[in-house]
């Protein structure tokens, strides 16, 4: 690695960490209902939304009411996107005249975008009308991200709040339970004050770099040198910039074009690449500070951010090293893989020349650390260990920064496990931020950690054992296995990126991956809200001499250890059959 490689990594991490505090502080104010500088502009809009939709913003919900509101909202969104795809042939804003999407692909896509996964079995520019892309997919990009952030806000309130003794405050509709917020308010404020303004800025910057934003038909251009078969080419365009901004900021990842952010109309320049990479991680990273601010001890947020950053940087190092070291098969062919100031060197297969090794590896690590899933290079072409990094980051449960909201509440499930185990070691009832962690919280946290593991491993096993699953594996041996494992790791953790080489747009994969995405999203959000409800109804215990501090380097190291042990124990056997054995075969 030369100076420029190091500089790009330091620049990216530096800007990311610098933006964490101001954005985190802003989001804390939004979720605590405090005044922010956008109030004058957006306050009337927010109040208008509540008035039109009949929402009383002062009304609290207990965890169950909150969960049901989330489920109903998401189910309606899912049905709407499904209907939109099935009917797009007779709806407007369809200049290419695309017909209805098939039922299985429509369902997979509707599930995928409602669950913030954005797995795409289809090619956007060859399948979806502009109306479907904008009204269906882009809208879900906003609301699915906002739903994850809302669940996190409720989780944090569960930690912060304690039961109210006065019956005057106890709403009978909530069965005497302490509320965790109002889902509709959290959704509205997340979208209006956080996602929309940031998306507007990123979309405008993207357009300035050359990302397309138009309702025009696709363009036909004549080739400079025609061939025997063709003289012109159709170039797809469309309203891409507005979708790309939120696809990154909301950790959605679904590309407007099939090759996602490797496409020059989605990500034309190194500067647009930097902005999009920062957009992927900025909200999940800043939410750590938001957490610290809301619980009244910012050191707690910094500790979680430190644990995430240590894992991220270590795995980024493996990815860059693996790709920069090159491919022995290329060396045998006489291809020069030496890095110079004008040659990126290393394994450039599947990577864009304008991004090179480092910016491709940062993106691959960031997009799978967050539950984003957009790509600017083809992960299937990475060296085996380079491909293992994104796969394992997903398998850890999308908690290293993670999806907006969902990443941090996933990380907090690991914190509960870490606190509980350390409590067992010293023989004390474990506490976290003044709340006793007991059997119920442990059961819910265990569900949150075990469900994705079960979905990924069982899904992979079913696909490999069934004729329909094996029929569309286009690569033999360990790499073919890796492609299936990657697909289920992606769907089973709501990431959405893919190793190519697996034909996933089949009724079998559309259906089974659809279920994996649904389970990974909602069967984790429910126990997260249940933990919030349980903690909100527990009295705060003052910290004593035996309380385990959860902001120290010791706890950060312990938390990382718990995450790695769980991740390693769960997936090492499967990884040994895929990327690890492939690495040994390549370098034997």
């Amino acid at each position: 690695m030369n100076f420029y490689s190091w500089f790009q990594i330091v620049l990216f991490m530096g800007i990311l960490l610098l933006l964490t505090k101001p954005l985190g502080l802003f989001m804390a104010k939004v979720y605590q209902g405090e005044r922010v500088f956008l109030d004058r502009l957006l306050g009337p809009v927010e109040r208008f939304i509540y008035r039109v939709s009949g929402v009383n913003p002062e009304e609290e919900m207990n965890w169950k009411m909150y969960a049901i509101a989330m489920l109903v909202f998401n189910a309606l969104g899912l049905f709407f996107v499904y209907a939109l795809q099935r009917l797009q042939g007779i709806l407007p804003l369809n200049p290419q005249g695309f017909g209805a999407v098939t039922p299985d692909s429509s369902w997979n896509t509707a599930v995928s975008f409602a669950s913030n996964t954005n797995w795409q079995g289809y090619g956007g520019e060859a399948t979806m009308s502009y109306l479907t892309q904008m009204l269906g997919l882009s809208v879900q990009n906003f609301v699915s991200a906002a739903a994850g952030m809302a669940v996190l806000a409720a989780f944090i309130r569960g930690i912060v709040r304690a039961p109210l003794s006065s019956p005057h405050f106890q709403n009978s509709k909530m069965g005497g339970q302490r509320g965790v917020g109002n889902f509709w308010v959290d959704m509205t404020r997340s979208t209006l004050y956080i996602l929309l303004p940031l998306s507007l800025v990123v979309a405008l910057v993207s357009v300035s770099q050359g990302v397309v934003q138009t309702f025009s038909q696709y363009k036909s251009v004549s080739w400079l040198q025609s061939t025997a078969n063709a003289t012109e080419q159709v170039i797809a365009v469309g309203p891409a910039a507005s979708q790309i901004a939120i696809k990154q900021l909301g950790t959605n990842g679904g590309g407007f074009f099939n090759v996602n952010s490797a496409h020059p109309f989605e990500n034309p320049t190194p500067f647009s690449n930097l902005i999009e990479m920062l957009s992927i991680l900025i909200i999940p990273a800043a939410l750590c500070y938001t957490f610290g601010k809301m619980v009244g001890d910012t050191r707690q947020g910094w500790a979680l951010l430190a644990a995430m950053t240590i894992i991220f940087v270590a795995l980024l190092g493996v990815a860059v090293w693996s790709e920069q070291s090159g491919n022995p098969a290329f060396a045998k062919m006489g291809i020069d893989q030496t890095q110079t100031n004008i040659n990126p060197g290393g394994n450039m297969e599947g990577k864009e020349v304008r991004f090179g090794i480092v910016n491709s590896a940062i993106w691959a690590t960031a997009t799978t650390a967050a539950s984003n899933g957009s790509v600017n290079s083809m992960h299937d072409s990475y060296m085996p260990l380079g491909g293992l990094v994104p796969m394992w980051l997903m398998q850890l449960g999308e908690i290293v920064y993670g999806g907006v909201g969902s990443g941090l509440y996933g990380m907090l499930a690991f914190v509960i496990i870490a606190v509980f185990v350390s409590g067992l070691m010293v023989g004390r009832t474990p506490e976290y931020l003044g709340k006793k962690i007991e059997a119920y919280e442990m059961k819910m946290a265990s569900i949150m950690i075990l469900i994705p593991v079960f979905v990924v491993l069982m899904g992979t096993a079913i696909a490999l054992m069934s004729e329909a699953g094996r029929a569309t594996i286009y690569n033999p041996s360990a790499h073919g296995f890796s492609e299936v494992l990657y697909a289920f790791s992606s769907a089973g953790n709501n990431n959405g990126s893919a190793f190519a080489g697996l034909g996933a747009n089949t009724p079998f994969y559309n259906t089974i991956l659809g279920f994996a995405m649904l389970i990974a999203r909602y069967w984790l959000a429910i126990p997260a809200l249940a933990i919030a409800g349980s903690l909100a109804n527990k009295k705060k215990v003052p910290a004593g001499a035996g309380t385990l501090p959860t902001h120290t380097p010791l706890f950060i190291a312990w938390l990382i250890g718990v995450i790695i042990i769980v991740g390693a124990l769960s997936f090492l056997p499967a990884l040994a059959l895929g990327p690890i054995v492939e690495h040994l075969m390549v370098f034997k």
């Binding site: 169950k64 969960a67 049901i68 489920l71 189910a75 899912l78 049905f79 499904y82 099935r86 039922p103 299985d104 429509s106 369902w107 599930v111 119920y440 059961k443 819910m444 259906t511 279920f515 649904l518 909602y522 069967w523 429910i526 126990p527 249940a530 409800g533 349980s534």
Partner: protein, 32 residues
């Protein structure tokens, strides 16, 4: 026909998810 199948599968999933909400609620109340 296929549309009905996928709509039915979705309804089934969300019904199961509501069941999970009830299970979590009962566990919180310490009921078996």
């Amino acid at each position: 026909m296929n549309d009905l199948l996928f709509i039915g599968l979705t309804v089934l999933f969300f019904a199961l998810t509501y069941g999970l909400v009830k299970v979590c609620e009962r566990l919180m109340e310490n009921k078996p």
